[in-house]
Assembly symmetry: C2
Homo-oligomer: 253 residues x 2
DNA sequence: CGTGCGCTTGATTGAGCTCAACGCGCGTGG
DNA sequence: CCACGCGCGTTGAGCTCAATCAAGCGCACG
């Protein structure tokens, strides 16, 4: 088990900011409010959005939220925890498409074919809001600001994937890992956690698969970064010591 | 110039299927009808969709339809011709995100930040329908089937990018080129052109950039495929001789 | 007729992969 | 309690595939 459910005073700086007891079903109370779907919805419309959310779902570490091939019925908003999303072709070919954290939406790739084309797996004990898609569509038609926001979220996903394609298409191993760490850093920062100290929820194997590298290469890059005093910490616990060096590495060819 | 505007009887099998003179502004008459936005729209609603299409735009080979950083106002449906879409960071870092052909939608990545994050460049003399996005959004709210279809198109783009990530993350040079050719083949086929004989509208450099390979590697792979009698033809003119071999290469590890 | 662009091919190099060994922490069971 | 196995991560040695460097070809175009 890995530091989940520790609460705000837990050992790591990006633990869960609210205790389990205080979690509510309401969007208004959710700490991810302004990152998630309700971001632009007025108070009076928030009730309507909440009314279509069928339920909160708990997903234990390692459990599959949805599997490639499952009938697509819902999107999921991560309320708590972390997920990895895997695209697979056949039994042996797998590509991790992304790692999702609180406030992010899962399952958008399923809209196009009414079946999921990816699987989403919890990296730690997690919680999501299930958003029945048919109901969401009706609501979007009625709430223009929500519609606009939903489209922005899909577009942002497309944009994110473009950056991953750049990474996979033309960056060295060192650059990929640096970009990966900086990306996590920024996302934790926007969630109110430390930008320079966080815990990796995924294994080296996951990182390698995501970045198009072997586990050994990932490990070597981490070692190199440590030797340069750019980062420190035990395998999963990362401190960024020289952000600038990492940034320069990414952009400076 | 490269075989554009040759009409159905031109030398190559994926020339333009209708002569220039017969091109109309109407979606109903457009040969890409059922691949594009109007696919699911009823006849009576088609007028409304057409009424928001501000204009047809001609784009000469090499011209930029929109540039990264431009204010986002419209999507574009490719009516005729081919485009490449380039994501760039800084002056020297470029990644081709995709090649678009008739019936496909350009510009969706711009929705999220009200500015385009990519540039789209015509690979030959082309024509697009400009779709003012603000008007489209209003219309989507009124036409549920159009809304659903639009979401499917965005989702399909996400799904497409997942497959590119798989390609870039875990395929060999040979596999990448094979997958690239087969992808083009399928897309021409759905447009009513030959699946086994088509013209590449992009340079080796474009292909290499897209596939995360150097121009030399791309060239070598083509030579290898020719030596195996899997393909034949001059640089841009490609005939697939052994589709099965290419498919096996892609899936069989 | 030269010049430049797009493409190919060859020789060499090197970044990252493969294979292998090992260390560490942890849970399990004798 | 220790022994053991196991999952996860690190490190080293050698190899390989694709990048780099370099040359040359064909063709369009001024």
């Amino acid at each position: 088990m890995h530091g989940s459910h520790k609460g705000p005073l837990g050992g790591v700086s990006n633990g869960v900011p609210i205790s389990i007891a205080s979690i509510s079903t309401s969007c208004a109370d959710c700490s991810m409010h302004e990152l998630c779907l309700p971001a632009v919805v007025s108070d009076k419309d928030l009730d309507r959005l909440e009314s279509i959310l069928s339920k909160r779902v708990r997903v234990a570490r390692g459990d599959v939220l949805y599997r490639s091939g499952d009938v697509f019925t819902s999107l999921y908003a991560v309320r708590l925890g972390h997920f990895k999303t895997v695209y697979s072709e056949g039994p042996s070919i797998k590509q991790i498409i992304g790692f999702q954290m609180s406030g992010e939406i899962l399952g958008m790739e399923g809209i196009s074919h009414s079946r999921h084309k990816c699987s989403s797996i919890a990296l730690e004990d997690s919680e999501v809001c299930e958003i029945p898609y048919a109901r969401l569509e009706s609501l979007l038609a009625e709430l223009p600001s929500l519609q606009a926001h939903f489209h922005r979220m899909m577009s942002r996903e497309i944009d994110r994937e473009h950056r991953v394609m750049l990474l996979l298409g033309s960056m060295s191993a060192d650059q990929r890992v640096a970009a990966f760490l900086l990306n996590l850093s920024r996302r934790y920062e926007t969630r109110g956690f430390s930008a320079n100290h966080f815990v990796l929820r995924m294994t080296r194997e996951d990182i390698g698969n995501y970045l198009g590298l072997t586990i050994e290469s990932v490990s070597r890059v981490f070692s190199r970064f440590k030797k340069n005093d750019w980062i420190e910490g035990s395998p999963r616990d990362v401190k960024l010591l020289d952000r600038k060096a990492l940034e320069e590495l990414c952009t400076h060819y």
